[in-house]
């Protein structure tokens, strides 16, 4: 299962098939930025690598030139003179061997260094992305599909790997090879070089045509593949429904239709890309033949002093000429693709992080001679620490947990107001409940207290200070939150509970679990508290996950609690048991509760009934029943229809 999930991350080898080039705006600037990024860590290694590439290309060329030396300088003269003295040849071979050795070493060094550069850069990219991502506001995660964020780490980094480790070195290598080979060819014979160039032009033209054709079908294939995959996901997800409705034949018919369309476009796309290689190879061979004939004729006639040895060398160069040119066009494609990935990565890195302009911090405190003093140990008391840099003094205000909203307006997108003129007063130790239908704005209110979002109008104060003045770290630390959507992390049960307070002892963890009534089921797990949870606690029931989330909040021991549908997935009987723990937890703390079960809210000090972003009723359970308003309707289920 884990493997399957993971494999979808990598996207499979299918993703890297050739396709149409993605569009990148201002590729030059992007490339420069990317190189700048790599350079800041690996300036010297990259310079060394460039030297290595130059060295290996030159050595290779030397080797190829040797062919001429061998035939013209040694074999032909010896054949003519009949000499049997091979010492000159031996020296020449050793000299070339030296060049080859340097070439091999240079190539090896290049690969080794590039390996460190590539993997190191990828590590930096991943670390930077993650570092940055953790600091982004919640809004970012709301407005970007999680799949897209993930692909920054997977597909985009993968193409980057390809680009840095292979495409760019090969691009440089091919470019240099083309230049040196061309120079050598020109030295050997100018007219033959033109023949060869003409053939290359034909080759480039043909592969361009084929790539265009293939690209068009690849687009169609991509589209059909998306349709097939979409259908597969949908039907597999609903397979049981298909069975229940005996809809197998219809589902199969629809699938076959899409599958056949995919076959048709995939066939065409692959056909043209498969033809690319033989076309290029045979054009290369044709070029070889043409050059052989022209060169042979030239050598025969002794035209421009062209010799057999030169022809041999030239033909080898000719062979070496076509390859790098094809390489260049292929690598160009890969680089552009990687740049599109790099663009997305930089877009993530360029997102503005959450700003924290607060200065007030939360500290543990005790009272000495009527004075509040900051201390390290757990005293159960907290104080707000106000620094006054201008005066150089510090002031401590006891933390009580009074939260006040005054005329708060809020909108997620700046257009549609979600909360209208919300005012509320939560006195220390009070339990405040929010009820109302989904979308009434209950969760939004709690998201404003911990500043997941910032309000547009009005003020929110916490112990008489604007929450904007409080450091986010300390603000959030003072609020324990249990969300409806329970998220657990890969790790043991113990680690998951300890997430609430990292320095909690094992006893603290067990105590918190007992409070949340999670202890008994945890003990029944195969390894108890050391059972490893994966995939968001996939092996636990939704209710059990919620109990763990409550334990996590309990161990954090925060002064203020926010429970957002914290018990919605626990069945009523279990909830009753948990409720005792929850009451224990809420004792003496300001608590905000969102719940749809009346039993959870009815003992609140104040219940707010929300409708379309406005508080329409407020008061205690008894008062609201008395009022016979919306709450009364909800409570009794009597709807005026």
């Amino acid at each position: 299962m884990a493997e399957e999930r993971a494999r979808t991350f990598r996207g499979g080898p299918g993703r890297r098939q050739m396709g149409p080039r993605p569009k990148v705006e201002n590729p030059g600037k992007l490339f420069k930025r990317l190189m700048g990024y790599v350079f800041q860590f690996y300036k010297i290694p990259i310079i060394v690598v460039v030297f290595c590439i130059v060295a290996s290309v030159l050595c290779n060329a030397q080797g190829t030139m040797f062919m001429r030396t061998l035939i013209d300088g040694y074999i032909s003269p010896m054949l003519v003179s009949g000499s049997r003295d091979f010492s000159g040849l031996l020296r020449a071979i050793f000299r070339v061997a030296g060049f080859y050795a340097v070439g091999v070493i240079a190539a090896f060094a290049q690969n080794r260094i590039m390996m460190y550069v590539t993997q190191g850069t990828l590590k930096h990219v991943r670390d930077d992305m993650f570092d940055h991502m953790e600091g982004l506001p919640i809004r970012y995660f709301d407005t970007h599909p999680h799949g897209d964020i993930m692909s920054n780490y997977t597909n985009d980094t993968d193409t980057l790997r390809q680009m840095i480790s292979q495409s760019i070195p090969q691009f440089i290598n091919s470019g240099l090879t083309v230049v040196t080979v061309l120079t050598c060819m020109l030295v050997l014979s100018v007219p033959l070089t033109f023949v060869s160039l003409a053939m290359v032009a034909v080759m480039v033209f043909c592969s361009g045509k084929l790539a265009g054709l293939s690209g068009r079908f690849f687009l169609a294939q991509q589209r059909d593949l998306a349709a097939v995959n979409g259908n597969i996901e949908e039907i597999m997800e609903g397979q049981k429904v298909v069975k229940v409705f005996c809809h197998e034949a219809e589902a199969t018919a629809r699938f076959n239709e899409l599958n056949d369309a995919l076959f048709a476009s995939a066939d065409s796309a692959n056909r043209f890309s498969n033809m690319m290689a033989p076309v290029n190879a045979q054009l290369g061979n044709t070029s070889y033949v043409v050059c052989a004939i022209v060169g042979g004729a030239m050598a025969l006639s002794g035209f421009w002093g062209f010799t057999l040895g030169k022809l041999a060398s030239f033909l080898t160069f000719n062979r070496n000429f076509a390859m790098p040119i094809n390489q260049i066009s292929m690598q160009m494609n890969a680089i552009v693709m990687a740049l599109a990935g790099a663009e997305r990565i930089f877009a993530l890195l360029d997102e503005a992080p959450e700003v924290d302009e607060g200065c007030v911090t939360l500290v543990r405190s005790r009272t000495e001679n009527g004075q509040i003093v900051e201390c390290k140990e757990r005293t159960g008391h907290w104080a707000w620490k106000h620094p006054y840099p201008s005066r150089g003094t510090v002031e401590y205000v006891p933390m009580k947990g009074r939260v006040v909203f005054e005329h708060v307006d809020f909108s997620y997108d700046g257009e549609k107001t979600v909360l209208h003129d919300v005012s509320l007063y939560a006195e220390p130790g009070q339990k405040i409940a929010f009820v109302g239908s989904t979308g009434a704005g209950k969760t939004t209110i709690t998201n404003l207290i911990n500043r997941f979002y910032d309000i547009q109008k009005g003020t929110i104060t916490y112990d008489e200070q604007d929450i904007k003045k409080i450091k986010k770290y300390d603000l959030r630390r003072s609020l324990g939150i249990v969300l409806q959507e329970t998220n657990l992390f890969t790790g043991t049960v113990r680690e998951n509970i300890r997430y609430g307070r990292l320095d909690a002892t094992d006893e603290d963890v067990v105590k918190a679990a007992k409070l949340a009534n999670a202890d008994s089921f945890i003990r029944r797990l195969p390894q108890g508290y050391d059972t490893v949870l994966t995939g968001n606690g996939a092996n636990l029931s939704q209710g059990q996950r919620q109990l763990l989330a409550i334990a996590r909040a309990a161990v954090a021991d925060p002064p203020v609690l926010i429970l957002d549908e914290a018990t919605s997935s626990i069945d009523t009987r279990t909830e009753k048991i948990v409720q005792d723990g929850m009451d224990q937890l809420m004792k003496g703390r300001t608590t905000f509760v969102i719940a749809h079960r009346l039993s959870t809210v009815q003992n609140s000090d104040c219940i707010m009934v929300l409708e379309q972003g406005r508080i329409i009723e407020r008061g205690s359970h008894e008062q609201l029943i008395e009022e016979k308003g919306k709450y009364y309707q909800l409570y009794t289920g009597n709807f005026a229809e």
Partner: protein
């Protein structure tokens, strides 16, 4: 495994055979080139015979043209064979999955089936094409080049033999070591990405507990680890290049040195020496290619295994031989029924269930999570087979009925229900594909869905997105109920199907059932006591056993569990409304949709 997969080649046998044949043709043509080249140089240039040059040159061009023809055809056939093979694989798997029983489906996860149908098939498609085009070609190329070399000079070709032996050993050593390392590193890499995924979906928790730095540290350590493991694996890979290059260069130098001597001695010609050097490249390239095929096949073998598994999976439920197509009425009987999800597990999920439900009765079922309420009702439409005892519908064992007939008469609204992309009308017609629009509207009205459907600008033609993400939870449930009603079932089962519908609407739906379809047996599983309270009888489930089965009044008096649930819910009124859409719902939905991808 190969037999199962091979059977899927079907109509693509011809291209599958033609592809390697074409590739052989291409190789032969390619191999001719250096030979002809030698002839041009030796007999043409050195002999000063321009006619020979032109003749052999023409021959070479012809060879190249044939090579192009063979190569292109190989590409065309290869594409046809491999994409066709992929199509057949998908089709065969999909069709087999359609025959799966619930037990079969449970065995594979949704994600597991999707991966098999998508990524795994793509892997096999690429591997198959590679095998068709290269598996024969590369060894052929190696053998022919080798033969040609021996033909030219037995003595010099020995050098190649040595090189091939050396390289094969080196490559095998590297590949075997590295593949293990890479398996490990990719697993770690996947874990790393999984932890990012986890962080993205749990970002609210991370921020609420101010654990950004903690997560950063955790990530940095994991990413450091991945870095180290990649380096360890790639260090070995980077040996590949120098070994390969070194061997090529050594061969060239050896051949040059020995060849030059032989030429001077007159036992070799210059042209032949050049051909030999050309074959050198061919031999080493095909070796490289073979090692690539080796890796590719190894990589896709896991995919092949997973696909074979699905193809060979036999449905655990089959239609009886002489099925009964007639269901007399909507009565249900459980007779000493024991059930467990896995035959080998020791404890039963349902224990000795005995029940009689009369035709037309309304039955409520309540019980805590894990009390096997859903399991119980799933046996009625034979979604699973009992292990012991019998389940009877209309007085006859469900195993005797034609499955389609049974499932059309017993409509289950599943707890985890889905809508499919398409219009609302199309979705409703899953229940009855020939239903007239009026019938659909009637069903929707019964399920209290008509009221909100009409509010959509396009009414019944509103397009439902994949997974039904553009309707709220309560709306989805009501559409699912309407869809089931269109089957005009004898038995209607609602498995917690109104949990997201507000209490008032829930009550109206039940009232409609009572008034409009009085003859249908209705079985309603619910968490809310209000949803079952007015049923004829209520079944209280506890740990896979029937705790009580009686009327509301009697249960209230005699049953402790029922009374507890009743008191905890009714004293406090019950539930506030959950769903119904409005402003923030947009964000909720977006969020759900994304959460659902994980």
């Amino acid at each position: 495994m190969l037999k199962t997969l091979g059977a899927q080649i079907k109509e693509f046998k011809l291209p599958s055979i033609l592809t390697p044949l074409m590739m052989i043709g291409e190789v032969i043509m390619e191999m001719m080139i250096p030979l002809l080249m030698a002839s041009i140089i030796d007999k043409g240039v050195e002999a000063g015979d321009m006619g020979h040059i032109l003749r052999v040159g023409g021959l070479m061009l012809g060879t190249a043209l044939l090579g192009l023809l063979f190569g292109s055809l190989g590409g065309v056939f290869g594409a046809k064979a491999s994409t066709g093979f992929a199509r057949n694989l998908r089709k065969a798997m999909f069709e087999n999955i359609q025959t799966f029983s619930f037990a079969n489906i449970d065995k594979y996860s949704t994600a597991g089936l999707v991966t098999r149908l998508t990524t795994d098939v793509t892997n096999l498609q690429m591997a198959y094409q590679m095998i068709l085009r290269m598996f024969v070609r590369a060894p052929m190329s190696l053998i022919i080049a080798m033969c040609m070399s021996f033909y030219i000079s037995k003595d010099l070709a020995g050098v190649y033999l040595g090189a091939v032996a050396f390289l094969s050993v080196a490559l095998i050593l590297i590949m075997t070591r590295v593949s293990g390392y890479f398996r490990e590193v990719f697993k770690k890499y996947d874990d790393l990405n999984a932890s990012v995924q986890e962080n993205v979906s749990a970002i609210r928790v991370v921020k609420a507990y101010v654990r950004e730095d903690y997560e950063r540290d955790k990530f940095r350590k994991a990413s450091e680890n991945v870095y180290r493991m990649f380096i360890r694996a790639e260090k070995i890979i980077t040996l590949n290049g120098p070994i390969m290059q070194g061997t090529v260069y050594t061969c060239i130098l050896l051949i040059s040195w020995l060849g030059a001597k032989m030429i001077v001695q007159g036992s070799l010609t210059t042209g032949e020496l050049m051909s030999l050097l050309a074959y050198c490249m061919n031999i080493l390239m095909s070796l490289m290619m073979m090692s690539m095929i080796f890796v590719m096949v190894a990589m896709s073998s896991a995919s092949a295994q997973r696909i074979t598994e699905v193809l060979n999976e036999k449905s655990t439920l089959t239609n009886p031989e002489n099925p009964d197509f007639e269901i007399p009425d909507g009565s249900v009987d459980f007779d000493h029924v024991n059930f467990r999800y896995r035959a080998e597990s020791s404890s039963n999920v349902l224990k000795d269930i005995n029940l009689h439900i009369g035709s037309g009765e309304t039955i409520g079922i309540i019980g805590g999570t894990g009390s096997s309420k859903s399991t119980l009702v799933n046996l009625i439409s034979r979604l699973y087979d009992v292990n012991e005892g019998t389940v009877r519908v209309g007085g006859k064992d469900v195993r005797g009925y034609d499955l389609d007939t049974l499932r059309s008469s017993v409509a289950v609204v599943l707890q985890k229900n889905v809508l499919f992309s398409g219009t609302i009308l199309e979705n409703l017609r899953w229940g009855d594909k020939d239903a007239a629009e009026e019938e659909c509207v009637r069903a929707a009205k019964l399920a209290c869905a008509d009221e909100f459907i009409r509010q959509f600008p396009e009414g019944y033609n509103t397009h439902i997105e994949q997974g039904g993400t553009n309707v709220s939870g309560g709306q989805k449930q009501r559409l699912c109920i309407a869809r089931a009603l269109l089957k005009k079932p004898k038995i209607l089962i609602l498995d917690d199907s109104t949990s997201a519908v507000d209490t008032a609407t829930d009550a109206r739906i039940r009232r409609a059932f009572r008034e409009e379809i009085p003859d249908t047996t209705k079985i309603i599983i619910a968490q809310r006591i209000a949803s079952v309270m007015d049923a004829d009888r209520i079944l209280v489930m506890q740990d896979g056993e029937v705790d009580a089965f009686d009327t509301h009044e009697n249960l209230l008096e005699n049953n402790r569990i029922y009374r507890e649930v009743y008191e905890s819910q009714m004293n406090a009124g019950g539930d506030f409304d959950r769903p119904e859409d409005s402003d923030k719902a947009y964000y909720d939905r977006e969020f759900d949709a994304r959460g659902g991808e994980n």
